[in-house]
Symmetry: C2
Subunit: 542 residues, 2 copies
């Protein structure tokens, strides 16, 4: 690893604009933004994916590798990534910092407490929760209906026992009521931090958070219980983007990490904009496959932040193709050309969808050791037949050098004039926006709304917030709302079971099926395999 | 503020041993300890106090000021302090970093997330909690009795609604059972971190934590559910002491901050030992008055860490004297010589107690603007009559220069040969240890144990852990277990309502009366007065 001061220098950042966290991590000062804000933007490349198999597609890996490959080609490039959440590191997932020759460093620290951003969000979230119950305890002057408090508590841990709880039991401990914890990445504050332009914007968004409803069923906002200024105090460092490096010394801005279901799943606007001022190319990613991640990246993040993407990379794997062709997870390493061809229907649909946004797409075939040559040849032929540029990416094994062909194709795509457009206009009704996404992106025949969802949509219209974009919460495995319908299903409807308003973040969440915002731990949690070795190094995370 | 690199240099610490957190905070590397561990120790000065009035006595202020005064006299001095907890900063207390000309900097960052130590402890605590419920969820192979889980959850927030809760409600969310949150400073992990010598010792202590009891009523320890290695991963940075500075540039090691009731209330052994190797004088403090703080500092921290204190400073205030003489809080600013004289009985008892530990004591009269000259003269005369050295301390207004007389008297006391001894031997029975503290320090006539306390003591004997020192949990306002019995009460008994074992920290907690380990917020929380100003500075914390 090079010192972060040196990495910063390579990105044109003077040491005075760094707030160091050890030798290899730094926050970027507010003054840096003032210095660079009038520069022209670099080109923004979105890394997205086909519907993944349960082990993932390698999107973060490809984002990191591609940024290295672009630098390898002499293009000044910065990767803009999400911060890993601690909870999943202790659960199934392990770390979220790439791997092999395409990873960001120091991996263990980034995966653990990093620069404290997520802890700060947890604290701000729970301060608001504590102040809500305290408001009721001390006489409830605002008239909050304790049965209609929608602001829950948060923790960056996978802890199913906290999903549904009863708080305030016992004498002197306030109102007894049902409540629950979500994982911090699902907190609206995480989404807010990632969509804010600066601290003033953050404050304004926090003010707008709806914490619950009063006895007249009118919304009560965070600003009404005087919690927001102290929340800003807790978040004033968390809002500054973090600088780290890849294993090859490419600068990486890593900042924020909202869920890709209940939220939009992209790293922060502040971090992305900073990167665009500092580099010719910025490679960023969005959570899940393109049906969720890319759509929300375009329709929420780009729309709200005024960003124009120049190209998209669709990460596919032979494994994911076979999974989408019906192969079960234990058999994914076995050659299966017919399943692969069948699964490719999934990729074709994503490619067509990206055209609807006017964004040129390149397919990255993320190489696995178990891929056979026949399979790779077949995938490349399928991409060509679909009219898509494709490149085999060996960044895991070879780092930047393993993604040169991909990088070349991406730069050519990005140099074409952009015709980026949104999928829908905001002034459509909520119902029409949801139906547009379902019909145009998922290719469903229609949407079934539950009475509860219809009632909430009505309420949002009444509150004058129906102009906000929609944030779909759906299984990542399928275009449909059923995880087992793989490939490119047709003739299905999507059920919207519930609608929620994230008034501070500025979007309307449409839940399809049930949504768990607090994961559990598996029978053998990843935590059981972690340890600190005799040299003080963390083993088991990367 | 000087850069922390410069402050470190003044303490003889090379930059290579610093892990910087911004320009003004650093963690000290493990290698530094290896380099200095064979040096002779400096002199250890404990700052303690009479029983405080509800606004506190100014112990932290005096600790900081005295360290500055000693440096002013040319004695190389480091202060060793506790880390503030975020929860109380949002509640009544505001910050905990001193004030006026005797404060540590950067106050806002130290009071907020600092270097993330407390967040790391929260995470480790809740990982263990999540793994307990997950263990039961996945078949409960160890046979944990869900009704006898003693490991609760933790949060660094004042949130009374979380004191008593029900977790695991709803299908798929595990065992429904009663639980609760404590504030993180009350976590046994905080006490463990503060008593550990190094990471290996930390691991061993975490292994010994009793998380609950099995169906045969045998203790189940953290090591039995494979949680400890991952907890060490989460704590590997938190165990390193932090370096900051006072407003006059005196180096301060600030590390750990356990409650002074359910735990021993002192900063970390690692930090204290490091400071003793780097300075000629180390000024440290212990929570609450000398009846709790000094006794536990001597009998738990010094005993376990092999530390020998050279002198104690008893902080008194004219206000606290009048409070102990029966004056109510609103009237504390009014001159009242008879109440002052009556309240001085409280100081006399503390001074006698310190003699029992063989530690020379100096009285520091922490000056307030409302003190009249007649009151100050009276206090000095009372100290002289009691045979105690005393000095007026004006460190709040004047910084180090305002405590020169105090510092001179402290150095003279510390140069006398030490005859430090513990109050009791560890091999006494639990009952005898508690009775010794009550009779010798509090001056009660005896102890009444509830049947529950007796049963637990019996169980601790059976588990072979009765040799551990006792950690008294008692109101700080009185020598008795009743907050309203001020001064120097006689003819009272102490009721021990409950006994708990902190097997990892290594002490037996005796609870007198009820103990709240999760504070609440007041009607107008301090959080409502905090804000970030236009220059990005936090207003309302110091």
């Amino acid at each position: 690893m090079k010192s972060i001061v040196e990495i910063a220098k390579s990105a044109g950042i003077d040491e005075q604009h760094l707030e160091l966290y050890g030798k290899y991590k730094a926050k970027l000062s507010d003054e840096l933004w003032e210095q660079v804000k009038d520069r022209p933007d670099g080109k923004l490349i979105l890394v997205t994916a086909m519907n993944p198999n349960p082990a993932g597609a390698g999107k973060t890996l490809t984002t990191i590798g591609l940024s290295q490959s672009l630098n390898y080609l002499g293009k000044k490039t910065i990767a803009a990534l999400r911060e890993p959440s601690l909870g999943p590191c202790m659960g199934i997932k392990g770390g979220a910092t790439g791997s092999g020759q395409a990873q960001i460093l120091p991996a263990d620290e980034i995966n653990l407490h990093f620069t404290g951003d997520i802890h700060a969000i947890t604290a701000a979230h729970n301060l608001l929760a504590a102040m809500i119950d305290n408001h009721i305890f001390h006489g409830n002057p605002r008239g909050l209906n304790p049965k209609k408090i929608v602001w829950k508590r948060a923790m960056d841990m996978n802890d199913r026992a906290l999903r549904n709880i009863v708080v305030g039991m016992g004498d002197g401990n306030g109102m007894t009521r049902e409540d629950g914890f979500m994982i911090t990445t699902a907190s609206e504050i995480m989404a807010i931090l990632c969509l804010s332009e600066n601290l003033a914007d953050l404050r304004e968004r926090l003010n707008h958070i709806i914490i619950g409803y009063d006895f007249d069923d009118q919304p009560v906002r965070a600003e009404e219980i005087n919690a927001v200024e102290a929340m800003c105090v807790l978040l004033k460092e968390a809002i500054k983007p973090n600088l780290v490096q890849t294993i090859e010394g490419t600068p990486v801005i890593i900042h924020g990490g909202p869920f890709a279901n209940i939220a939009h799943g992209c790293s922060s606007v502040i971090g992305t904009k900073m990167a665009l001022k500092l580099a010719d190319y910025v490679v960023t990613e969005a959570g899940f496959g393109a049906d969720l991640g890319a759509e929300k990246f375009f329709d929420i993040k780009c729309r709200k932040a005024g960003l124009t993407p120049s190209a998209a990379v669709v990460v596919i794997t032979v494994r994911s193709l076979k999974f989408n062709g019906g192969v079960k997870v234990p058999d994914l390493a076995v050659e299966n050309l017919s399943a692969l061809e069948k699964g490719f229907e999934n990729v074709k649909r994503h490619l067509e969808n990206l055209q609807k946004f006017g964004v040129p797409a390149v397919v990255a075939i993320n190489h696995f050791a178990t891929d056979t040559q026949a399979e790779i040849d077949a995938v490349i032929a399928l991409c060509q037949a679909a009219g898509a540029e494709a490149a085999l990416s060996k960044v895991w094994a070879e780092g930047g050098a393993g993604g040169v062909e991909l990088a070349e194709k991406v730069t050519r795509a990005a140099e074409r004039p952009s015709s980026f457009r949104f999928l829908y206009e905001e002034d459509l009704s909520i119902k029409d926006k949801i139906e547009t996404v379902v019909k145009e992106v998922y290719r469903g025949s229609g949407v079934v709304f539950t009475p509860l969802a219809l009632k909430t949509m009505q309420k949002i219209e009444e509150m004058g917030m129906s102009h906000l974009p929609v944030c779909m919460a759906k299984t990542p495995y399928s275009f449909t709302d059923r995880a087992d319908l793989l490939g490119a299903p047709v003739d299905f409807t999507i059920q919207v079971s519930e609608v929620r308003i994230s008034a501070g973040a500025g979007f309307i969440v449409a839940l399809t099926g049930s949504l768990v915002t607090m994961p559990g731990l598996p029978k053998k949690p990843a935590a059981e395999s972690l340890y600190v070795d005799e040299d003080g190094q963390v083993i088991g995370l990367s």
